[in-house]
């Protein structure tokens, strides 16, 4: 069985039938509940998140619990399935705290390895879609900078800036020098001050704690690797969101340039434009391989995971931004309007390029991992 052994060692870069089924379910839900006009109306309201959408996605479909084992109330699936959900969320730029709650916060809690007590209890609530939790760290925090997440020291006093999805959270997971605390978002001494974000589909807030109280979930020694693991999963699966986003941009651009006529021809027949879209297609195809590789590494616990994640982030964030920029340019004037959704994708792509480590910080990680040191 030589050949088969080789197969199991290589990452599985394809989609399984179950993953394809999950994709169709999520895609049709988002088409119904979160089309572009709905998203634009939402971001102009005070609550970008639609609690009904979150209930349908997180609880009814069970997407919130994909990473959580069945004995803790989850679906017992893996990062591969969660990645497929994120591809679809990227494709629709739906405002939903999936990456922050169902991936980063969930993965951080899972890494603590508790089978009962407050951690297991909270995981059950998250998996059922009844609660949303976010890790109280600045959104740009790279996995290898996880200790920079400890902005809060001693008793729960301190300020954490630019926390993604904090406004939607029921529970804040607060890393401190003492360890990791769970703090109820509406507890005394907790304020969540919304910021005006570049990406309106993923709100940011400043979290301020003033003699707040919380439950200690893990001491500092256990908390640090758990936070790092949460951020690693976030960075790795963000690549799938970026892939879905880039795919939407390419598909819409191809559709538009086939229909839009100038100079008595569809503008998509001009070689200058065709080559740009073909180049983008090649980038999307490559991004898919990189994103699948990261998801598969996270799912299989491969020792290659930090490299797979860094490669996926260093590559996919650029592809998403490039796709969104090309989408706007090739749509011409319509691409600059508020009513066309292209701007939502550009804003998401650009913010994603900073989230969980920039491409540059992931390149530094690769330099370290592959022994290609700076001068």
């Amino acid at each position: 069985m030589t050949a088969q052994t080789e197969e199991t060692v290589a990452p599985d870069l394809l989609y399984s039938e179950a993953e394809d089924d999950l994709r169709s379910t999520v895609r049709s839900l988002l088409a119904d509940r979160s089309d572009a006009p709905t998203v634009i109306a939402r971001i102009e309201s005070d609550t970008p998140y639609d609690p009904q959408l979150w209930k349908a996605l997180g609880a009814d479909i069970g997407a919130a619990g994909l990473l959580v084992p069945e004995k803790l109330g989850g679906q017992g699936a893996s990062h591969r399935e969660a990645a497929v959900v994120l591809e679809e969320l990227g494709r629709s730029v739906a405002p939903a705290p999936y990456l922050t709650s169902a991936v980063v916060a969930t993965e951080t809690l899972l890494a603590l390895g508790s089978e009962d007590g407050p951690v297991a209890e909270l995981l059950g609530e998250l998996a059922a879609g009844r609660k949303v939790a976010v890790l109280a760290v600045p959104f740009p925090t790279a996995p290898e900078n996880s200790s920079a997440a400890e902005a809060v020291t001693g008793t729960l006093d301190g300020t954490v800036t630019a926390v993604a999805d904090a406004a939607a959270a029921d529970v804040l997971l607060v890393p401190t020098t003492d360890g990791l605390y769970a703090v109820e978002a509406d507890a005394p001494g907790v304020t969540v001050e919304p910021l005006v974000p570049l990406d309106q589909t993923r709100p940011l807030a400043t979290v301020t704690l003033t003699a707040a109280t919380g439950t200690l979930l893990a001491d500092a020694e256990a908390a640090r690797p758990a936070v790092r693991r949460g951020l690693l999963a976030g960075a790795g699966l963000l690549a799938s969101e970026q892939l879905g986003l880039a795919e939407w941009c390419l598909t819409e651009t191809v559709r538009y340039t086939r229909e839009r006529h100038q100079f008595n021809r569809p503008i998509g027949s001009f070689q200058a434009l065709k080559h740009r879209m073909a180049q983008l297609w090649l980038e999307v195809v490559s991004a898919r391989a990189a994103a699948r590789n990261a998801a598969d590494a996270l799912a299989s616990g491969s020792p290659d995971t930090p490299l797979a994640v860094a490669v996926a982030q260093a590559y996919c964030s650029k592809v998403a931004v490039h796709a969104a920029e090309e989408c706007i340019q090739l749509h011409g004037g319509i691409g600059m309007t508020w009513e066309h959704p292209a701007h939502l994708y550009l804003k998401r792509a650009k913010a994603d390029a900073i989230a969980y480590g920039t491409a540059g910080s992931h390149l530094e990680a690769i330099a370290e991992l592959m022994e290609l040191p700076a001068p």
Binding site: A3, L13, L14, L282, A367, P375
Partner: protein, 397 residues
């Protein structure tokens, strides 16, 4: 019909090894025996070197033979025959042609070349002007014209050739496909020295070359369709094998970086890391394509991989020359040689840099491939054309 699985292939491979121990069997004899056992290309029909087995099982045989130290058929040296001539002969050849040509082709006793491109027909291949005129007396074809960029013509025994058999038809329709004997009178091969100093390519002049009708592949006038099979197979060959990390051109550069700290600069570091990531991602995309083929769901990604590798090879080899600094100013040897095979990665950084310039031209320029992706994969409209319904002889050239 029996289904051939991995276990059965392994059993047959061991049987072959037992009957013809590599240690005591001559190279050619072993390869012939392997062909006759159906273990040459297992997806080919029985009797023609295969067993009608799934293509994805070939690695089972290859791994078993490699472990036993058996000789291989030097696929690099016979690449054009394997990748282009063989699938075309299999698809369009008569039984006689298949029996005559496939075994010596695979064993490597007969090397093939490809007489497609012409000085006036490169990317616009269908514009070719080499004429094949049929003699009324015996039905033989008399061929006159000039071909160019012909790798291996100087060592080839046979060539696949496309020529115009009806100039009154539009350019795609009046073409026929032949097998040309490179030793026949009227075939003249002249080396074409190139940018690297080597003459890896040739010009081939065809003057009154007589080709019997029994060496025509496919119907008269169907040459363009037959050629499509050849060209598609040229690009399919990617994705057959698994490439290790740093397996391509990035490998030597990364090694130099690790071993020669004195060459490092911040600017080169940024470029190296960016290209390292792109090479790793291209490798993964190739691996994904391979997995799709194995799973029987071939995607259109193949058309894109050549584009990615062409650009990467050029950028990486360019970086390598700069990284080497003073050494990058030197070149190993400008002597004109006529190598047996195309070697992209051999020799030094300067050679790799110069040779890789061809990667975006040979086998379809990157611009033509981008058009193919745009039109066939993305479904974008074609540019308006004015050469489709005009007789070839009336086109301006």
């Amino acid at each position: 019909m029996t289904t051939i699985d991995a276990a059965e292939l392994r059993r047959r491979t061991r049987e072959l090894l037992a009957a013809h121990p590599p240690a005591t069997t001559g190279r050619t004899d072993f390869l012939r025996a392997r062909f006759d056992a159906g273990l040459a290309w297992v997806h080919y029909p029985a009797g023609l070197g295969g067993l009608d087995a799934p293509r994805s099982l070939q690695p089972v045989v290859d791994a078993e033979l490699a472990a036993a130290g058996a000789p291989d058929n030097d696929p690099r040296r016979i690449g054009i025959g394997l990748g282009m001539a063989a699938p075309t002969i299999l698809g369009f050849g008569t039984d006689e042609q298949k029996q005559r040509f496939l075994r010596p082709l695979w064993v490597g006793e007969e090397v093939w070349c490809q007489l497609f491109s012409e000085p006036g027909a490169g990317s616009d291949l269908a514009a070719l002007g080499t004429r094949a005129v049929r003699e009324e007396a015996d039905g033989d074809w008399i061929v006159d014209g000039q071909k160019v960029w012909t790798s291996s013509a100087h060592v080839a025994r046979w060539a696949i050739l496309i020529a115009r058999t009806d100039p009154d038809l539009p350019k795609h329709r009046g073409i026929s496909y032949f097998i040309c004997d490179m030793t026949d009178p009227g075939v003249e091969v002249r080396p074409l020295r190139q940018i690297t100093g080597e003459a890896e390519f040739n010009e081939v002049f065809l003057t009154g070359v007589r080709i019997p009708d029994s060496r025509r592949l496919g119907p008269v006038g169907a040459g363009w369709k037959v050629a499509q099979t050849t060209l598609m197979n040229e690009r399919v060959s990617i994705g057959g094998s698994r490439i290790p990390r740093e397996g391509g051109m990035i490998g030597p550069v990364a090694r130099t970086w690790r071993e020669r700290p004195e060459l490092r600069t911040h600017d080169l570091h940024q470029r190296l890391l960016t290209l390292w990531v792109e090479a790793e991602v291209a490798r993964l995309a190739g691996e994904r394509l391979r997995q799709q083929l194995v799973a029987g769901q071939p995607g259109p990604e193949g058309s894109g991989m050549k584009l990615a590798f062409a650009r990467l090879n050029q950028e990486i080899s360019g970086l390598e020359v700069e990284l080497l600094g003073e050494e990058g100013l030197l070149y190993s040897d400008w002597t004109m040689r006529r190598p047996d095979l195309v070697d992209f990665t051999g020799r030094d950084a300067g050679y790799r840099y110069l040779r890789s310039k061809g990667n975006s031209i040979e086998g379809g320029t990157s611009e033509v491939l981008l058009n193919i992706v745009a039109e066939r994969v993305l479904g974008l409209p074609a540019e308006p054309r004015n050469d489709k319904d005009v007789a070839w002889k009336d086109l301006s050239r």
